[in-house]
Symmetry: C2
Amino acid sequence: MKVDSVDLFYLRMPNVLDIGDGSQDALLVRVRSGNFEGWGEAEASPLTSIASWIAPMSHSACHPVIDSVLGERIDSVEDIERISLKVRTNSFYGIIQSNLTFSGVEIALWDLLGQVKEQPIYKLLGYKTSEKKLPYASVLFGDTPEETLNKAKAMRKVGFSAMKFGWGPFGRGSVEIDSAHVHAAREGLGKDGHLLIDAGTVFNEDLEAAAARLPMLKSANVMWFEEPFAAAAISAYGKLAKMDPGVKLAGGEGAHNPLDAQTLIDHGGVGFIQIDTGYIGGIGPAYRVAQYATARGVQFVNHTFTSQSALAASLHPYAGLKDSWITEYPMEPKQLCVDLTVDKIEMGADGMISAPDAPGLGVTINVDAIGKYVVDAEIKVEGKVLYSTPTL
Amino acid sequence: MKVDSVDLFYLRMPNVLDIGDGSQDALLVRVRSGNFEGWGEAEASPLTSIASWIAPMSHSACHPVIDSVLGERIDSVEDIERISLKVRTNSFYGIIQSNLTFSGVEIALWDLLGQVKEQPIYKLLGYKTSEKKLPYASVLFGDTPEETLNKAKAMRKVGFSAMKFGWGPFGRGSVEIDSAHVHAAREGLGKDGHLLIDAGTVFNEDLEAAAARLPMLKSANVMWFEEPFAAAAISAYGKLAKMDPGVKLAGGEGAHNPLDAQTLIDHGGVGFIQIDTGYIGGIGPAYRVAQYATARGVQFVNHTFTSQSALAASLHPYAGLKDSWITEYPMEPKQLCVDLTVDKIEMGADGMISAPDAPGLGVTINVDAIGKYVVDAEIKVEGKVLYSTPTL
C-alpha cells in the first residue's frame, strides 16, 4: 500500500478567545491508502502548519513535509518510522513547524495501519494490555483561595480523586498567596487525593522564585510541580531538582522531538515527563519517550487538553506501562472538540480510563458533525494554488 | 516612535535546487517607524514563516507574531527586549516557527534603532570596539580525498588560513575514508592553518560512530568537530565531550532560542557555540549567548551561509569579544544573496573582517536590484486576504 492522499483541515470555533484553552481550533489530518483511512490531530497553529506542509523547498534540509510523506509505502510500523526519519532528515532546518505538523500526519498513519491490521495502536506498539489509568481533572486556580477551595470541592464531588490546579494568580504575587491557594486546593480535594500544581512556566528562568514555593508545596503534599520554568530552561530544572524539593518536578509538553524530552529527563531531573503526542512528532516518538522514562524511573504522563481523539492518541504510547498510572483528561473542551468524535473514552465505575480496544486510535471522527467548523483557506504562490481546503 | 509597519518579503532564485545551499531563497523583513526604516533576514522557510506572522490566534499562547509587534513603542534597546518577551509569551505553544520568523523582525528593529541613534548595532549593545575576526572558508568535502586536497590548496591560494570541510562523504563510509579526507584537507591547508570539520549531524545520536573519528581528527590537529549529532542530542554531545577527545566540539546552529544554546554549553560540553542570528531570535538572544559563552570559556562563532546583511547581523552580537576571534564567511552565495546588498564586508589586507561601523547593521539593502527575486504570494482565510506580497 501507498500513501495515496493526505488532507489537512483547519477547524475552529466561531469565536476564538484570548484564553488558555487549546480546544478552540484544531488541525485535523486525514490519510488515505487504498480503501483505508486514518485520522490524526496536531496541537499546532493550523494555518502555520498547513504552510509547512506545502511551502516550496528552500534547500535540501528545508523541504515541506508533503515531500516526505505522499506516495510513500505504508505496510508496517517500520514504514511509519522510515517516513518519520525522512521528515526529520528533509525538514530539520528552517521549517521547525514541520515537527508539529507531522505529529498529526504520523498519528493518522498509525490509525490507518490499525484499520488495515485490525489492531488497536497499543498492540501495534507491542503492548499486550491496555492498563487502567487514573484521570486527573485539570482546572485553573480561582481568583481567590475561596474560589479555588470551591472548585476543588466540586471536582471531588464529580468523582475526581486527582486534580491539577494551575495558571491564574499562581506565581504572580507572594509565596503566601500561592500557599493559600495550594492549601485551599488540598482542603477541597481531601487528604487522600492526588494534588498536582502547574506553574505554567510563570517563573521563566527564575530559580529563586520557584524554589521559594517548594516548602509550601511539600507541606500540602503536592505530587508534582509542573513547568516552573520555560520548556527550554533545562539547567534551571536541573538545579531545582537537585535542591531535593520533596516534590517531584513535571514538564515536557513543549518537547517537539523525543530528544528534547530525554534532555529534560537526563539534565532537568523531572520525575514526570508530560508528552503531547500531537506535538512531539506523533505516536512513535511518544512511545520512545515512554520507554526511555520508564527505564529511568520517571513516570510518563500525557498532555492533552483538546479532543477525545487526541486523548486516544496520547494513551496508546504508554498504554501497557503499569508504573505510569495517571492521565490528563480534557475536562471542558469547546463544542468543536466534543463534536469531533462519535465516541468517547468513558470513565469506568472505578473512575479509571484506558486506551480503546477498537482498531487504530479506537475513536471515530464524526465527519458529519464537523463540517460547520471547517475553515476555508487558500495559499497561492506565483498564481499557483498550493493549498485550498479539501472536501471532508 | 511606534512600529508603523512590518513587511515580509519572500525572495527566491528562479531555480531552487535540492542541495545544501541556504542562499537560494530569503525571508526579508522591512520595519518602518516615522521616517526610518530597518531591514532583517530570518534563516527560515519563507512561506511557513509568513503564515506564522499572520495566522489567526489559536489560544492565548498561540498568537501570530504580528500581534506582539505592530504598533509597539520603539525608542530604545529595552523596547526591543520588551517586544521579544511579548512574542515569547504570546506565541510559545503550537507556533514554534514564530521563533525563526521573529529573528528577522528583531534584526530589522535593531537596524532601525541604529538609524535613529546613528550608531552601529554593536555600540547599541554596549561594545566599544569592533574587533577583527578571522574569516574561515566553508566548503564541502570532495568526492575523493584528492578532490578534497585540491579544494584545500585552492582555498589557501585565495588567502584563507582557516577552512571548514563538511558534509559530502563524511561519516557515510569507513573511518579510514574519513581520515583520508581529513588528512588531505590538512595537507592542502598546510600545517599552520586552522582546520575545522563539520559532520552535518550525520551520526544523529550514534556516540560510538562519532567517537571512532576522534583519534584521526586529533592527529590532523583539527580545531573543532562540528555537529556530530542532531542539534537536540544534548546527552550524546556531553558524553563525547567527556571522552577528552583532544578536539573541541562545536554546535548550536539549530538553537532557536538562547536557552537551547545554554543547554548545549552546560550539558553538551561544546568548546565553540555557533549561533545563527536569523534563527535564534535575533541580535538580542545572540548577544546573550555570546556573553554566556564567554563567561564559561566557550568561544562564540556565527553561523552564516547566505547574504552580507545576514553576516553583518551575525557579527554585531560578538563584535567586541576578543576571545571569540573566528567567523564564518559565506563563500559562494547564489546571485540573490550577492544582489541583496549594496555593500559588502570586505576582508582587509590582513585577511580579517569586522562588524561594520555604519549605523544599524551597516550594510544597505539594494532595493532596486532585488525586485526580480520577489515571489508573489497570497494567504486567504474565509475569503479575507491575510497576506499578500507587499510593495518593495
